[in-house]
């Protein structure tokens, strides 16, 4: 992998991303052309009048803009967390959910719906339970000694995740089948239909808080993909780096899941594509994963709101789009994995 090719891949991904943003604005009930979009944004920056229909401004700033922005943010966060986890767990089949963050967030959100709380409370519960689930898994794994620390982490994640899954099932069983159950089901399938400007502003700092340490630790994260003892012999305090990566990835994933519901596949599939394009070095893998993840979710979300008369749930559509891509990749790109 030459750095020229890496820059090429990054530039290509950026250009595709910009194209996707323009497409996302230009389709839907109120199409917004690229010119209108730029006028509205220019007005937002300078305060000069654009003289357009105020409906367009509302669509851009209050409805489609937040939706596009949260698709970009969430796609980027899930892909970044997935890339870091795949490196850390030395496993291509790991997704950001492995330590129970989605299961925890699901319990929080479903509890909120079950108790008929408002949207902000539901999001906060989802975020808090996501963090709490991973915290619990981490504490369990660090009290169990004498085994491979990674194996214990994964096992604890699987066990806690299945327990939380049972909690969700119980609440679904007990929920009011006419109001609450559809809301729960809808949340569990993931959607950006109700993304608001507040969602974007509350999520952005959390995403950055996760992304910045990952970027700063990019070289050490490469070494986490070695055997634990080998990485320590090379001078890496693996326990601390691992804790930081888990905390950063969990923060991002929790924040993402809290506003979008459960969206699978991105954290699993996107890092593979990024690795095929630019190799495993995290200093290239992370930015390319972020770009591709943002683009993939924006593309899927645009499809979700345009291909049918009703919204297709994101969790469904990402799987429908992601599965063939993933299988194709499994068949063609097995080289490089041992």
């Amino acid at each position: 992998m030459t750095s020229a090719r890496a820059w090429g891949a990054g530039a290509l991904a950026s250009a595709m991303l910009a194209g996707l943003v323009l497409i996302a604005f230009s389709v839907g009930r109120f199409p917004v052309s690229a010119g209108d979009l730029l006028s509205v944004l220019w007005t937002g920056l300078t305060g000069r009048e654009h003289g357009l229909d105020p409906t367009i401004e509302t669509v851009v700033l209050k409805i489609r803009g937040p939706r596009v922005a949260s698709a970009l943010l969430i796609g980027a966060a899930l892909a970044a967390a997935g890339a870091a986890y795949q490196n850390m767990f030395r496993n291509p089949l790991v997704s950001p959910d492995i330590l129970g963050v989605s299961a925890g967030a699901a319990v929080g959100a479903v509890l909120g719906i079950f108790l008929s709380l408002n949207v902000i409370a539901i999001q906060s519960l989802a975020f808090g339970f996501g963090l709490g689930a991973v915290g619990l898994v981490y504490v369990i794994s660090s009290t169990v000694r004498g085994h491979d620390p990674l194996l214990v982490l994964v096992l604890a994640g699987v066990v806690v995740g299945s327990l939380l899954g049972a909690c969700v099932a119980l609440m679904k069983y007990l929920a009011d089948p006419y109001n609450q159950l559809p809301a729960i089901t809808f949340w569990l399938l993931g959607s950006l239909a109700s993304a608001s400007p507040e969602d974007v502003w509350s999520t952005l700092p959390l995403m950055l808080l996760g992304l910045v340490p990952m970027w700063l630790l990019r070289w050490r994260i490469n070494l986490l993909s070695l055997e634990d003892e080998e990485a320590r012999a090379l001078g890496v305090e693996t326990g601390r780096i691992r804790f930081t990566v888990i905390a950063a990835a969990t923060l991002m994933t929790s924040a993402a899941v809290a506003i979008s519901g459960v969206i699978g596949w991105i954290g699993l599939v996107i890092p593979h594509f990024a690795r095929m394009l630019v190799g495993p070095d995290f200093s290239r893998l992370l930015p390319v994963s972020v770009l591709l993840g943002a683009g993939f979710l924006l593309g899927v979300d645009t499809l979700a709101r345009t291909v049918a008369r009703i919204e297709i749930p994101l969790g469904v559509l990402t799987a429908f789009v992601g599965t063939p891509l993933f299988l194709w990749q499994l068949a063609t790109a097995r080289r490089g994995w041992q």
């Binding site: 992998m1 490196n87 030395r90 496993n91 000694r145 004498g146 700063l216 630790l217 990019r218 070289w219 050490r220 490469n222 070494l223 993909s225 070695l226 055997e227 003892e229 080998e230 320590r232 012999a233 090379l234 001078g235 890496v236 305090e237 690795r275 190799g279 495993p280 070095d281 200093s283 080289r335 490089g336 994995w337 041992q338």
Partner: protein, 261 residues
């Protein structure tokens, strides 16, 4: 510059593998550790490197207890060559060797131009220049072993610990690794290696340690330590140790197992 074990007990909690091992290694010296399978060679090495906590006694890195040192401090002093393994991701040989520079970098830093030059020099030293851009997971076992030695050289410490560096290598690569070990020692580094082949100890070691049932059975010059009696004691087979003439009137000791006809 000295790596020292003093009355070291090693193993895992609740399962002691060996005890009361005292040995030391200085820069420029090659110390070869012989021992049968399961005698605790790898566990001893990991304890010496501070990767496993000692179960008693202590390990001194340049006079200071290894437990009181940070990982990067230890790594700048002693580097580790594990048995050649499969990596999990398709890193290039150049990237793998560059990982040896990690102990010289700040936590948030990435390798600099200087680090890349040091790594490249280590690659050239192991004559791996033609493989620098190859994918580590796709080269042969012997080439991987050489790449791991290059990584240890790029780590730029005073002592290298090698765990069976010739295991799984063909005859030619075994000899090449031996030559590299001698060259590394001549350049002033201390080398601690384990092997299953006593002839290799004759070939490259200044001193030989024999580990038997978790204890240091013997420690000294190769000629004194590697004898028919000691080999029979630790491996349980009949061996003749004899000397053969080499070019230039030199002699070298070799071990020949006695197999019943």
């Amino acid at each position: 510059m000295k790596l020292e074990a003093s009355h070291l007990d090693f193993g895992y909690r609740g399962h002691r593998v060996g005890s009361d091992v005292s040995l030391s290694l200085v820069s420029g010296e090659v110390l070869c550790l012989l021992g049968p399978n399961g005698s605790g060679k790898t566990t001893l090495f990991k304890t010496l490197l501070g990767l496993l906590p000692s179960q008693g006694g202590q390990v001194l890195v340049d006079g200071i207890d290894v437990r009181r040192k940070k990982r990067d401090e230890v790594a700048r002093f002693v580097s580790y060559v594990p048995q050649a393994h499969a990596a999990f991701f398709p890193f290039t040989v150049r990237e793998v060797v560059l990982m040896g520079r990690t102990a010289h970098l700040g936590v948030f830093s990435s390798p600099s131009r200087h680090d890349r030059e040091v790594a490249q020099a280590a690659i050239e030293r192991m004559r791996l220049g033609h493989l620098a851009g190859s994918i580590y997971t796709r080269i042969s076992g012997g080439e991987r072993q050489l790449a791991l030695i290059a990584r240890a050289l790029a780590q730029d410490g005073h002592i290298i610990v090698m765990d069976e560096p010739t295991a799984n290598l063909d005859f030619g690569n075994q000899v090449r690794v031996m030559e590299h070990i001698q060259a590394v020692a001549r350049a002033g580094m201390g080398v601690l290696l384990s092997t299953h082949d006593p002839d290799q100890a004759f070939l490259c070691a200044d001193r030989v340690a024999m580990l038997h049932e978790g204890r240091l059975a013997r420690l000294g010059a190769p000629d004194e330590v590697i004898t028919s009696e000691s080999l029979e004691q630790i491996y349980g087979v009949d061996v003749v140790v004899t000397r053969v003439p080499m070019d230039g009137g030199r002699q070298r000791a070799i071990c020949i197992p006695v197999v019943a006809d």
